[in-house]
Symmetry: C2
Subunit: 922 residues, 2 copies
Amino acid sequence: MSSKGSSAVAKRPVNKSRAGGPSQIVEAPASKKNGGPKPKPGKMVYFFGATRTEGNSTMKPLLGGKGANLAEMTSIGLPVPPGFTITTDACAAYYKNGQQLPYGLMNEVNKNIAVLEAELDKKFGSNDNPLLVSVRSGAAVSMPGMMNTILNLGLTDASVAGLAAATKNARFAYDAYRRLINMFGDVVMGVDHSHFEEAFKKIKAKYNAKDDTDVPEKGIIELCEAYKGVYQKHVGEVFPQNPFKQLELAIEAVFKSWNSDKAVSYRRIEGIRGLNGTAVNVQSMVYGNMGDDSGTGVAFTRNNATGENAFYGEFLINAQGEDVVAGIRTPKHVDEMPKWNKDVYNQLLKIKGKLEKHYKDMQDIEFTIERGKLYMLQTRTGKRSGIASVRIACDMLREKLIDEKMAMLRIPAGDLTQLLLPSFDPASKKKATTLTRGIPASPGAATGKLAFTAHEAVERARAGEHVLLVRSETSPEDVEGMHSAVGILTSTGGRTSHAAVVACGWGKCCVVGAGELNIDEKKGTVKVAGQTLGRDDVVSIDGSTGEVMLGAISSIEPKLSGDFALVMKLADKYRTLGVRTNADTPEDAQRARDFGAEGIGLTRTEHMFFEGERIKAMREMILAENRADREKALAKLLPYQRDDFVGIFKAMKGLPVTIRLLDPPLHEFLPQDDATQTEMAQMLKISAEKVRRRVAQLHEMNPMLGHRGCRLAVTYPEILVMQVRAIVEATIECLRSNIKAMPEIMVPLIGTKRELAALRTEIEATIAEVKAEQDYKPRLDIKIGTMIEIPRAALTADEIAEVAEFFSFGTNDLTQMTFGYSRDDINTFLPDYLKRELLDHDPFQSLDQEGVGQLVKMGVDKGRSRKPDLKVGICGEHGGDPKSVHFCHRAGLDYVSCSPFRVPIARLAAAQAAIMGEAPKK
Amino acid sequence: MSSKGSSAVAKRPVNKSRAGGPSQIVEAPASKKNGGPKPKPGKMVYFFGATRTEGNSTMKPLLGGKGANLAEMTSIGLPVPPGFTITTDACAAYYKNGQQLPYGLMNEVNKNIAVLEAELDKKFGSNDNPLLVSVRSGAAVSMPGMMNTILNLGLTDASVAGLAAATKNARFAYDAYRRLINMFGDVVMGVDHSHFEEAFKKIKAKYNAKDDTDVPEKGIIELCEAYKGVYQKHVGEVFPQNPFKQLELAIEAVFKSWNSDKAVSYRRIEGIRGLNGTAVNVQSMVYGNMGDDSGTGVAFTRNNATGENAFYGEFLINAQGEDVVAGIRTPKHVDEMPKWNKDVYNQLLKIKGKLEKHYKDMQDIEFTIERGKLYMLQTRTGKRSGIASVRIACDMLREKLIDEKMAMLRIPAGDLTQLLLPSFDPASKKKATTLTRGIPASPGAATGKLAFTAHEAVERARAGEHVLLVRSETSPEDVEGMHSAVGILTSTGGRTSHAAVVACGWGKCCVVGAGELNIDEKKGTVKVAGQTLGRDDVVSIDGSTGEVMLGAISSIEPKLSGDFALVMKLADKYRTLGVRTNADTPEDAQRARDFGAEGIGLTRTEHMFFEGERIKAMREMILAENRADREKALAKLLPYQRDDFVGIFKAMKGLPVTIRLLDPPLHEFLPQDDATQTEMAQMLKISAEKVRRRVAQLHEMNPMLGHRGCRLAVTYPEILVMQVRAIVEATIECLRSNIKAMPEIMVPLIGTKRELAALRTEIEATIAEVKAEQDYKPRLDIKIGTMIEIPRAALTADEIAEVAEFFSFGTNDLTQMTFGYSRDDINTFLPDYLKRELLDHDPFQSLDQEGVGQLVKMGVDKGRSRKPDLKVGICGEHGGDPKSVHFCHRAGLDYVSCSPFRVPIARLAAAQAAIMGEAPKK
């Protein structure tokens, strides 16, 4: 039985209550007009109905979300079946009392039942047109694990006959009764549902019925008797024939469910604190299954997929929710309703308008039509797609329903990805077979035939095929093939692997570390999930989820609407946090500028060394045996680097460009396989043995914590000199051509002040040297700063700030070291950690504010304590995660830097943080 | 020219001023009897001599170490050539004045020269018995990089004739003059010494002299003229003929030397702050080279190698310091002095006694005999060996010269190693050829013939040979061979490599990561330093320095004297910090108890899985494909583990034993080479392919940050269950045999509270289960705690403390992650870091108090803020480093834990920390 009871159509978008960052949505504050009476001390029950309505939508903490909105809808004159809500305070008192219902509660409940009886002219437990109610839990925050709904409460052996008479439908009445006994036994008294099932089976066998609905009235009446027997056997008492007793037990069961293991664990994990308990909603029953003039439905007041301002939903005639769950009948679209009942349809359209005007947001409603009369059973803010959220916010802004700030808060920043990258059509995806799941390395959707080598990918792409490159891992040699493929899939490596980093930079869909893939490159096959796929098989990968699916899945291409531009304009108006981008090429830089980046926060120079002639010179440098030979090889790299920088400076047109000096360990530039090593030896005219020896010598146990970053500059100062030289030469070249160039030199992996001081001296000396060589007199404003990515750097940030003009938090590495998690290896245990709820999320996706965040705050505070005007940013991938952006705003950072495609997300998230009044502490 | 000038014999132990931890020695506070006059404001010059003595040994900050001790010796009636000291305040004033000598300084200097003239009845610059002085720098702390001594100041063209007349030795007088011109030109005026050399060469050629001493009087007089020419040419002025001008320039040169690059950098690196500047000592000259009744020497008041209470030193007749520097003559032992001049010898013996009584410590003295008269030129605390420091402290305690606390402070704790482990005879070692240097992994000294496989080592050791096992790296299979060898040498791996960890546990000498070794196991050769060594070559390795040397070097076996026991007894009396040990076997546990360990702070359970049948079962477990099969394999390990624990509990006799659950990644237990993999497959009756696949699957990019520690327990709870079961079964077995067992279960690598909470629940459930199975009713007091070794654990220690009864800081891993340094790979850059002074020391040897220490303090404070009685210890190898022990005492830790051989060091260091009043903050 569905928790929606008789009034809900089940096939509807489910509330993703644990959906993490992107789906958080901000609800409109209730209109001030809905003031209503304030809660009275001691009052435990709030009525809603024609007689009086005591609650309103501002009272969610006291009445729960559902109860507050039922009262609100009643107040504004919508047809809501009357009822009352028991407060969350009563629940708190229940627990304070050692799990005893608070004194006076049932007295108050009974008084409200009396009001209900009077209003509806029905009697609770009467054998003549009896009052029946539903009982539902409802906390201030939607929370799974709490009690299911109980319907039809008030039915007894006596009143069921009354219902049969009043409805003139005995089968209906007894069916309602058997449902009550079942639900009550199961939910309130803990009788296993299977016992009831068994009894039903017997009856069905007796009447030779295939489905429940085939059982005749007589059988249903027998079933009620059988169910009462089951109840008595397992509870040890007869099924309560006093409706007030039923109600009391049900209320207590709702209270108890507040502390069920599942609910407690949910609150713990979600960090939900400060709530009193759950409210209990007791509402008079209405029925959508009383004949062809009855029905039930759910709808959104606007299209939740596109955002279009049109009533959008489904309904079923003569139905209860569970009919849909059973999948027997297909609901109709609300557009078809006028043909059935034009009045009701028009009523609903009016209600849509009224609700939107009132709540100032798109609503998700539930309704039931009982014998031609419409009843509203629920309204709440409707979940929507990213595309819809943008359109609805902009439309409502134009309709003057909401103001600019509210429009900003209405769009979950992370959902903007849907507007920027292709994504799979959800309907088509649902039908696909998932083969395995890897690490989502670069978002997007890609479908293609499998190619097993880079060369193959290039050839087949030239021939017009869409190919998906499948490799155990990729290396610099594969770059051209990767570029030719529509997407990249690897069986090893993590988010920092070559494939991941290169693909992410291009915005190309990529899934890495899909360990279950068994790739045979020579045969051109991959085994996975019991299947063997070859070159002609089509596979689809989802770069946002890591899913690897069989066959073609249709995808939706993004279109940037005028609304998107409006949202970005408003975001820039409200945000105080700067947004830069991580870009390594002029193309990336240009794209990021198009997306509104205000500078480059991270240019990774190492990616510039992987192509063609460059990698050769790089390898020559690494294999050189003395400084002179290294310098000779570096001299070959210099012109490439300089030209790269000139290109980026031109693209950024005077915006700051933070260039990070060489960071990865040198062995990443050497080939690891014999064949390529031999090839390389021939090219460099040295023995293969020497290449192998150097590769072996550079091998490290834990390269993440090894000879990389500024440690390279300490042992090979000539590398630093070449890079700084390229930066300064490029800057002077640009300035002399009247192109403003604003480089900032960033030293990676600093752990001590002395390190940075020593390297700073060398950087400054090189700048002076190049200026002298170039006979360039004007002052060159080249800032020198550092990554803060090692815990020790954050701990001693006051010292380090003395020799740095800026800090940029490298939260990828900082997370690795603060947690002791290797990003490349985390997949060996992260799934278990998430499953066992030891972590709420992958800390590489959303910043761990409690742990890593402490170090970030410490770094900012200590740094500014010594140098108040220190510029501080973040260039880890968290810079594009909305929750992390909020954190950065609060921590007082000057800017975040993220990949080009996430720049719009960061801009919006920054605006939301500013609007939400999260004052940065500067 | 030696800085000791004419009064020092050069071949003497040099003050290792940058000697790091072990050599720090605490000087006796000056006796209160030496009160003397307090410094007067404005007074810039302090006289010492017969007329008056204005300074004393408490005035080191004002007068520098040398000046204060010259005054002190004068005060107590020792024959010190009179002179005066210009204060460090005057130096500070010089810098405050923009490098101008402070007003009135030269006036005060001149007045003191007048006192000196009167006292000695000589005139400065007189051509009749002229007053000559030396000028020396001398700060409160001994500091290299400051000005060299200038001797013979006061000589001019006029006075040199007077000196010749007075000494009746013209050659001596002009030799003194040419030395002055040279020194003054070089040191004060910056004339390159080579210019003087050249002039001397010409004179030598002219007189056909081989050595300087072959040049006759006439030549020396000509040399003076030539030197004055050199001086004038390069300075642009004539050599100053006014002795007061000479003095003024020399004083200013000393002041300037305080800010020389070398001195500034030395202070920066040593963290020397708060000093005013350098003092200047102006002292009347005495000469040891005035004939056979003159001489010069240095001595220790006790034997600095053995500590024996006997006068110990060397002297040269008719000599100056530089004669010894030149290596022409061999000094005589002071025992021979009575034969030469019994009076002077007896005088020296009296002075020895007087100085020791006065300074209450062994002294290092310099003296000169001029024409039969003894002069004292310096006294200071003498450096000594570890053995000597123990003996001297205990002797002086018995002699009632010092009290217990002072005796404790007199012994550099780290130097106790010399008493506990064999070490190479320094004389023998000095002559040896160093082949290369690796990482010192386990201290001691080992000499043996090379064995290239474990098997070979076992066989040859059985045959009675001393073999040194040389491997590229060791694996669990090599354990028996390692045990048979006298020492272990590897070409790869760091301090956490298998070889290092196993050897260190055994106290067996081991050097790892000697990367220059080119080992050919098949041929049985190793190439290094241009030599090829084979099975019959003898090599010596020093496990304290990492040196690998050719041939046999005689070593000194340690003998534990009664003095050692006394020192340990006193240490226990004064220390407040507990000392535990890291021990994995009953033997280690026993040895550590013998050394005074008060419990085990770390038992690494993984080492128990490496031997014989155990590794088989371990591998079976790792290769199992489901939980049931893993549990089957683990069941085989259980009895071994239980017996290990029983053995350790028995050895520890009721002292607490902290047992760490499995920590290393599983791949460490699998063979990495093809042959062993195949062998293993056969043994386990599975395909070799499967073994290889599993090995490949378990491969990690950064195993340090991978699937290890508590992460194993999260994904394979059955491993934790087996280990806890073994602990509890062993505990109950012991308790039932009336052996007190006090296990503490320690969970490694915790990063979040949730992790520990979840595992704690499983540990507690297992304890309860075993108790029930065993029908054991009494309460079992098994504490459950965690390592704090991940930065995030320290940052969130308040939360974690809620579910932990104790913390143990794993400062090895904490250092790795706080610095981002892989201990196994640090050798690729650490040497450059030390050379470039970017680090003062290897942070894995002595705790980085500034960075890692912050996290330790944070962990202690946050932990105790939530749980005030939280027990906190440290079990990284820093637990045996004296400086780190001091830090742990100050940070308020309850105990340190270290390897058995370092337990005495930790006990002494803890006592010293307590005595030095470093109050722990609890």
